[in-house]
Subunit: 274 residues, 2 copies
Amino acid sequence: MLPLITGSTRIYGLLGDPVKSAKSPMLLNRLFAETQSDAVCIPLEVGTQGLAEFVKGARAVRNLAGLLVTMPHKQAMLEFVDVLHPSARQIGAINVVRCDTDGRWEGAVFDGLGCVLGMQRQGVSLLGKSVLLIGAGGSGRAIAFAVAAAGARSLSISDLDPQRAADLAHRVTREGSCEVHAGPADPAGHDIVINATPLGMNPDDPMPVEAEQLNPAMVVVDIITRSEPTALLLEAQSRGCKTLDGQPMHVGQALLALGFLGFEDIERRYSEGL
Amino acid sequence: MLPLITGSTRIYGLLGDPVKSAKSPMLLNRLFAETQSDAVCIPLEVGTQGLAEFVKGARAVRNLAGLLVTMPHKQAMLEFVDVLHPSARQIGAINVVRCDTDGRWEGAVFDGLGCVLGMQRQGVSLLGKSVLLIGAGGSGRAIAFAVAAAGARSLSISDLDPQRAADLAHRVTREGSCEVHAGPADPAGHDIVINATPLGMNPDDPMPVEAEQLNPAMVVVDIITRSEPTALLLEAQSRGCKTLDGQPMHVGQALLALGFLGFEDIERRYSEGL
């Protein structure tokens, strides 16, 4: 249940295609209700071809206060905002737009930082840890930068395309003091394993890592959000690992996005645990 | 309180400028909640200059299912829809747009019919009655046609601009069997008096009718929606008249708009009384 929507309620859109299974409107509206914020999040299904027209029209809506941006618009939105938050420049993508009252739109991305915050909220610190990251695509890129910034000792990046893994490792190396390199999908010697590939969405998918190398000292994170655990998480659990599914990252992203949108009170209140 | 908004919730906008005091989102969301309809109504504040861009952008939003249209866009929307409902052609205005899944937008106007339905829901029938209508502007025009169609015996239309009253009387005469003419703002001899001017919004406004002619057999309707009764309604009450404020018309409009938007169940369930 949600609070009343009146003529003065601030409107936030979840922009994507498709949006049918999007979870952000429910999460944000719950947080708005619990904090008695006069705001509402609604899904807006816009295809790639309609994005430019949508943005022009949305800029005419004075009470539109922000957009959460999901697939397939995370890269395309870069050219439709007026200001890029450092996160968006670094990652080359946007997952939230703040529509300021002076008409300026600023874009940021909290996929990676949200993943780290989600892990921290579940008691998993990255400080001094050795991390294996599988996948150097959009989500993997964001997570790599955030893992390095969160104080990991080392980061090994694995991708089906070794060049893509090497390129990302090279870029992340320049950002901080974490030792970053490309490598195989082998958990041996790592403290934390993060799957940032879509492998596990479908029942026939191969395992994203060499699962026989998992041991009970490891934490295994799979960013896929489904109601059922992925094969990787089931295998990790059977080997005694602590596991996290995509939900903590989703909540972490949402909290950081809300802080960026001006709801610092919500971000503070929930960042330490729900 | 409202039901959950998910990725599959249909979106309805209340389009106007300003929208701060708009009551439709609260009313529609209450009706959606009570009937467990997976739909939500949100305010969209768009100025005159932004309307064309807004419409192009809104057409890119696949889950936008309709718009309620209020000031100042009721006439301007005529050129942005693909199909005009007979009501919109007759009145020359639009207060609701249905966005069909094939991309076609159809516009209709239920201001007048909503006023009549609101009166009926309060036990005031127009059948065989003599009606004095004050104001031949946008709302007055819509109400004149609806009063004639509802079976009034006669309709006298008064306006500060006598030519505007005469023109409207002439047009409504052609539509039905009601005897319609322009005349003074004098309630004498009428059964029902309807104020469709803005007189009464401000404390210094003159009385829209010759109030000393009101008698206890008369019903006095003031379409202005405010929390406090207008001076006209207070005067009418002191003279023993039955009075209706703008709320019944607002609810009547909303029910007819919901029927047009496909919520025939809501229209049926509430049309006989809330």
